[in-house]
Amino acid sequence: MGIYLIGTLFIGCALFLNRKKGLNYLLVTTFVLLQWGLTIHAWLHRDQADWVYFTPDALAVIFLTTLSVISIPAIWHSYHYFASDKEIPRERSIYFAAMIILLAALSAAYLSNHIAITWIFVELTTLSASSLIYHRRNVRTLEGTWKYIFVCSISITLVFIGILLLTVAVQEAGFSDLTYASLTARAGLFNTFWLKLAFLFIFTGFTAKVGLVPMYTAGIDAKDKAPSPAGALFSSVLLTVGFLGIFRVYAIISHTEIFPWAGRILFISGFLSVFVATVYMLRVKNFKRMFAYSSVEHMGLVVLGLAAGGVGYYAAILHIVLHSFAKSAMFFQVGQVYRIYKSKSIYDAGDYFRLNPAGAIVLLFGFFIITAMPPSGMFISEFLIFSALFAGGHIWLLAAVLLLLTLIIWSFGKNIFKILFIKPVGLNEATIQKIPPVESISQYLFLALVIYLGFFPPGLFIHLIDQAIALLPK
């Protein structure tokens, strides 16, 4: 772990300092190796504290692996991203430095077993993410960055307040240890008043990362404005870190009598997220933002699953993992679309099927996968979430959610098919750059992976998830 962090720091600085292309990519590759080293290490030393504050437990391992898998194509596509249009060495080096710091911060946040440490690294993700968003230096990205960093800072402060309130509870109970393990173990002893406050603040704070109502707002701009490989990271692994934070606190709460109350909060937030997603899916004409909103919708579903309990826990984690893969694939593809049309507006895009068949097929199947139509693996997770809701007796909620989802799919589909099939007005075919099908391979792999994990999950995977949700009451 230590090696990892220090190594990352070193590589980051090195990247920041020198501008040579070859050297940059060399450093990045070494980082990837480091990342995988960490992952394997985590696999080998499950549940063994490392450097006091880091314990790779089941959930952490799942997310860490997801991260490591996604990081490779992310960097690869960044390479193509730079190759495709003019690259300024300085920007590139900053970009990569920020990216690997982001990845490292995420990994650390996954692994940390101490709530404050999690906080530190989550804050770090905000900072590194902001410089990724600002990569294209213009007014709009500046605005997006500003919003993201500011809203996230506030939200992270809220989380900190929550942690302080939690410590009140802890100290009243006569302890001072803030590791998740001890918190979970002693949850029953804490004063519920403080716990309530703490949970509320922490939850609200983390919604900014997960992209849930109430603080989903800045995340949309971030995903929109960041380069699409970074956008892929934001809408996949950056969400999971927020989810992780919420999940851990929820696990603590679940051993107290305010559990139902917390569940109700999740229900409210989840449903509102789906609702808001619907509102804007029907409205947005910028396809990158559209995907961002679809993430909001999916996170809403995940939280609903978490709140519904029962099989919903399993479904929630499965769903968020699958969503990470599917959505990052979509964002990689969106990058290609943008390269073709030089615009994110649905009105300018169109007839993609002819211009880039390989990519078009990704877009098409990705759409089917994202909207959880069989044979999408997400169908399984959504199905389980729905049955959890049904079993929980939230039938009206389920009906409402299904209605909203139908609306989402409707407008989502309209836009996607517009991009794929309808000829756009005033598109100058001469200027279009050909995109080699090779660049779509990663998406194919990811989509296939989603199906595989959904329908043929390896036993280890299931086992891990079960272990992760073992913290929660059945």
Partner: protein, 209 residues
């Protein structure tokens, strides 16, 4: 002693509420830094030396000197007009700040809890909400940063109030994060200043659906 300091602290909040000028704000922030140092010193007198040094660093070195200076630099660099033009008239804002303070007083009274120190709690909450109020009510971007800083002060006081003792390492991490975030905020204020003429949040309302 603590109480007096905290009363000063709260008064400073009120003063911030009614003052118009940005450099007054920075001054007040510095002043708050000193107060916080005092409070922290009194509260944490019994704790070990490294922690003390750390607190000293944080309050004096960081809250009192570094940030105000940095803010002034930003203001000067971007030639930000001195007025903090709020959405609401100052009189109203004073009233609101006062109500916030009273409200937080009542709120913390509502908590029947022996563990937390009430007065600190009051200060913390009022700082928190005042900061939020600043962010919501002021037009200038720089004032948003200031609001954020007030919140941070509030959080600091809160941590004193709950007497949360974090391991040193953690503390440092937190401090660094806050510093970095403030720094980044400042940097971006500069950048915004480069691209936009007058620093108005209404300039930053293009990203919407």
């Amino acid at each position: 002693m603590t109480n007096i300091l905290l009363i000063f602290f709260i008064i400073s909040l009120v003063h911030m509420g009614l003052s118009k000028r940005l450099n007054t704000y920075t001054a007040v922030l510095a002043f708050q830094g000193i107060i916080l140092f005092g409070v922290a010193f009194i509260e944490l007198i019994q704790i070990n030396v490294p922690n003390l040094l750390f607190v000293l660093l944080e309050t004096i070195g960081f809250k009192t000197i570094a940030i105000p200076w940095f803010l002034n630099y930003v203001i000067r660099r971007n030639k930000i007009t001195r007025e903090s033009d709020p959405f609401l008239p100052d009189f109203l804002s004073v009233v609101i700040v006062t109500t916030i303070i009273i409200g937080s007083f009542l709120l913390s009274n509502a908590i029947q809890d022996t563990h937390v120190k009430k007065i600190l709690f009051v200060a913390a909450l009022s700082a928190l909400f005042t900061g939020l109020y600043f962010i919501i009510s002021r037009k200038k971007i720089i004032t948003h940063v200031m609001g954020f800083l007030i919140i941070e002060n509030g959080v600091f006081v809160l941590s004193l109030a709950v007497g949360a003792e974090m391991p040193l390492l953690v503390n440092i991490g937190i401090l660094l994060d806050i510093f970095a975030s403030v720094f980044l905020l400042g940097v971006f204020v500069n950048k915004i200043g480069d691209v936009l003429q007058e620093q108005d949040v209404d300039q930053l309302r293009n990203l919407k659906d």
